[in-house]
Amino acid sequence: MKESSFAEVVEQIEPGMTVMIGGFLAVGTPEKLITGMINKGIDNLTVIANETSYPDRGIGRLVVEKLVDKVIVSHIGTNPVSGKQMNNGELEVDLIPQGTLVERIRAGGAGLGGVLTPVGVGTKIAEGKEILQIKGEDYLLELPLRADVALLKAWKADRKGNLIYRKAARNFNPIMATAADKVLVEAEEIVEVGKIDPARVHTPGVYVDMVFAGGGDGE
């Protein structure tokens, strides 16, 4: 069943899960799902996302509520609470170059054993990683990332789960749609099947497990 109620969707998220959450500085992040997780107190989460956003928006709210044990992100600088919890030992932070992060997620969703990237060669990022020489150049072997659930924000969805994202709210969402056991989508609007031109679909519904109509962000 693709179209679901908000409660049915939140039901899928459990304490201790590894959760991918779409968005870039809260643009393209499913805020209603985050509120749902906070209201149910779903904790001990490992969050894979671009960054930890701001204390009052997006993923940052989960950090502030201390629901997150570990983040796998490219940046935490916009959320001082993340830095504070990291220094206190309350939050484990794995910092990954943004392009490597998204490629690792892509590899996880694409059935690849990893990716080879020149990014990070000769830096701290390379520590403990296998270096392969291809045509005389050094590359780091970066392993795939997958999650138990992916929480995405779409603009329009149809009842089969085909998704369109709006403007820069696309970001990590379509990649994460491929890399989790369950893909849960908060769409601003759900339309009838056939209303979305197949040529305009960003994420084919075959990747999506559940979608609910969350309305706009009210901004």
Partner: protein, 220 residues
């Protein structure tokens, strides 16, 4: 004495001269963002925004902000005619795959071998690298736009970076309020200097060994 605002203007204005018609360019946060104010009107530059588009335009008029349109620093922006949105994987395909002509970044430290350190000060400041490492490694040309020193006296342009690196040997050009320095096989060459500063003073404020070429010019 050159104040902070003047310094930033000098740097941004000079970096803008490095851009050529048709270039695809990423401008980092801080001084690099201001380069856009000095791009000559007769050249066409496409700006890339890591969060997933090309054709980055100026800030919208107050009240015209779009909740789904920000730059990589989280500020409301616009997209120009002919721009295009893309997902994050494609955004970094563009960066790493040789499709980005120039990246302009600020830094904590940079050295004469072209090493750059701009993502953490262990134990003090650990924001993360965001897209910076990909940009530094992937862009065809890496330009560092930074004030010459940290708070008037502490050198930022070093013999060797002491902070964790963001990229090794990747920097091509360093532009500060005091001059323009090119990283070469022989070392750091001061190509242009700002006549508001004496050469001895610039030398004193640079820990790296500066090479003064015969054709040293004044910065415009």
């Amino acid at each position: 004495m050159v104040n902070k605002t003047e310094k930033r203007e000098i740097i941004a204005r000079r970096v803008a001269q490095e851009l050529q018609d048709g270039d695809v360019v990423n401008l980092g946060i801080g001084i690099p963002t201001r380069v856009v104010d000095y791009i000559p009107e007769d050249i066409d530059i496409t700006l890339h925004s890591e969060n997933g588009f090309v054709g980055l335009g100026p800030a919208p008029e107050p009240g015209k902000e779009d909740k789904d349109l920000i730059n990589a620093g989280g500020e409301p922006v616009t997209i120009k005619k002919g721009g295009a949105f893309m997902n994050s994987a494609e955004s970094f395909i563009l960066v790493r795959g040789g499709h980005l002509d120039i990246t302009v970044l600020g830094t904590l430290q940079v050295d004469e071998k072209g090493n750059i350190a701009n993502w953490m000060i262990p134990g003090k400041f650990v924001p993360g690298m965001g897209g910076a490492m990909d940009l530094i490694t992937g862009a065809q040309r890496v330009i560092v736009a930074t004030e010459h020193t940290i708070k008037e006296d502490k050198p930022k342009i070093l013999k060797e970076c002491t902070l964790p690196l963001s990229g090794k040997g990747e920097v091509d050009l360093i532009v500060t309020e005091m001059g323009v320095m090119e990283v070469t096989g022989k070392g750091l060459v001061l190509k242009e200097y700002n006549p508001k500063f004496k050469l001895e003073y610039i030398k004193k404020k640079t820990e790296a060994e500066l090479i003064f070429p015969a054709d040293l010019q004044e910065m415009n």
